[in-house]
Symmetry: C2
Subunit: 363 residues, 2 copies
Amino acid sequence: MIGILGGGQLARMLALAGKPLGLQFMFLDPADEACASELGEHLQGDYTDRALLAQMAERCDVVTYEFENVPVEIIDFIAEKTPVYPSAKALAVGQDRLTEKNFFRKLGIATAPYYAVDSFERLQEVMPEIGWPAILKTRRFGYDGKGQAISRSAADLQQAWRELEGSPVIVEGFVPFRREVSIIAARNISGAIVYYPLSENQHRGGILRLAKSCDNDPLQSQAESMIARLLEALDYVGVLALELFDLDGHLVANEFAPRVHNSGHWTIEGSETSQFENHLRAILDQPLGNTKTRGFAAMQNFIGGVPSLKEVLALSEVHMHLYNKTPRKGRKVAHATIRSDTPEALSGRIAALAKLAEQTDDS
Amino acid sequence: MIGILGGGQLARMLALAGKPLGLQFMFLDPADEACASELGEHLQGDYTDRALLAQMAERCDVVTYEFENVPVEIIDFIAEKTPVYPSAKALAVGQDRLTEKNFFRKLGIATAPYYAVDSFERLQEVMPEIGWPAILKTRRFGYDGKGQAISRSAADLQQAWRELEGSPVIVEGFVPFRREVSIIAARNISGAIVYYPLSENQHRGGILRLAKSCDNDPLQSQAESMIARLLEALDYVGVLALELFDLDGHLVANEFAPRVHNSGHWTIEGSETSQFENHLRAILDQPLGNTKTRGFAAMQNFIGGVPSLKEVLALSEVHMHLYNKTPRKGRKVAHATIRSDTPEALSGRIAALAKLAEQTDDS
């Protein structure tokens, strides 16, 4: 039995990848409607409910999680009884943007300039070095663009500060990137590593909209070397995603996610082995699966609503993934993956899907 | 909600294909351990249980089945309330080998020579025309080589007859085939049809062991034309499999199965859209998915037992499909699919998998 903290779409897709491997799943999720629950046992309750956590630890061979805001002490609690991957250390480093950036720096992984700031005075002090525009981010519990404020000039600095005031904050310089990319890798208990091709990612409003495989990208080996350092330094087990900015050939790390990642959803049909299957193989110490891309692949998110299934399925080489979640403003409710033999065919399908996505996207 | 009569591995794989399309499933199966049941609701009871059938008809938008021995009156009973695909007609024709062969003949689809025989005297009478070796088959309820007896010469004819005596029987001439192949096609409610590439199949003891995709096979269009006639004549909806003998370039029909088929399991990773997804698209009248093969694909069955997961997954481009069934002598408990970019790589993997399969195959 595999225990998963969280019962959302990532847990759901992990379970779908695990069924052919003969695996059983248990999900801890407070939500009544946790969309993974139809694929296993649903322990409904708070993530801090010790009785439920003990039950999961007792009954599972291994535990993992689908979101990075799990309190570290919960991982420690479960880990007393049963292995948890990725480890509490990976989780802890990733939960605090300052620790994360310092960790990058220690490993020689380039980042945008940053400072921890605990007062407006300190913020004003470091701004000459950071420059404008700058991004203020809460150190903890940000996702999908939440917990961020942009300052475009000295004039709006105080306003940006007020938006986040009260939380520990870092300020980051803006790096003039050509594109946003991510690299996903998996490392198993025995230390074997596989890397996926880079994904080129398009966000809007802080939410990922489109991710596209980049085969034979000139920056692939640079990205692999960066994520390899992280995997080794954290003695990491499972799938790790690293978000990067491409500064005209030079990669700068933004943040990592110690879990399967939205920018890797095209691996379901696009790769020989999906990120979901490789995460499971990794935490079970099975040999990792081949990560090569089958042709060219991409993923279009559907936010807030889903277009007609008929219109999506009428597109050749397009695969629908509905999460069985009630549509709500700004909520990721589905994605479609596209796999094509040529970049031209892929571009055509992406355009068609993006148009369909627009119809129902309310964000 | 999709209702499926039967909760075995075919139902299980249909459900796994249906989850990303947002579908819910209900399975009627007498077995306690029906292996699909972890993916939906399990109505446990006999296939003739009218109360359960009524419940399924009441609650499902459409009903389908995973085995061809469903009594036709059950389909008729459900169809009064909710659509059932494939139709009772397709089922009825396929359930009786004589009706099936006559149907082939009527459609101009070549078969081996055959006669219905209702007495040993009649059998003796037709043997000069059939010739030896000959195969006696019960007209109904045969599968995986069951309900068959071979006569190799006049000397053992009576013994073969006695093995099946009491059931309505047909006798078939042996066709000296070069290989056994099958073609799988899907037709949706609107009448659109897609065809998969031929599969080359190897049986032993009447049970399929290995199936291999045949891209650009010279007999593809011959096979398509044969199955197209069946699909149209039956006003068929869903996936249909047609087993054929290749007599040096000339195809002869053996039998059809009105369902997803073991020889199409390599379509899960090997095809752009799997037979399971296309069956669901067909019965929901959705556009059918692209059926092209991604490189070269094959499937190895695991009978009676499963080799070590580690050894299977250590093979690159190999995907394990465990059915969560208790191993039993001669029982299909899992398969692995292989997908490779070259026929050579495929052959190497097939050899390695066949070796692993041998270790646990007790049949």
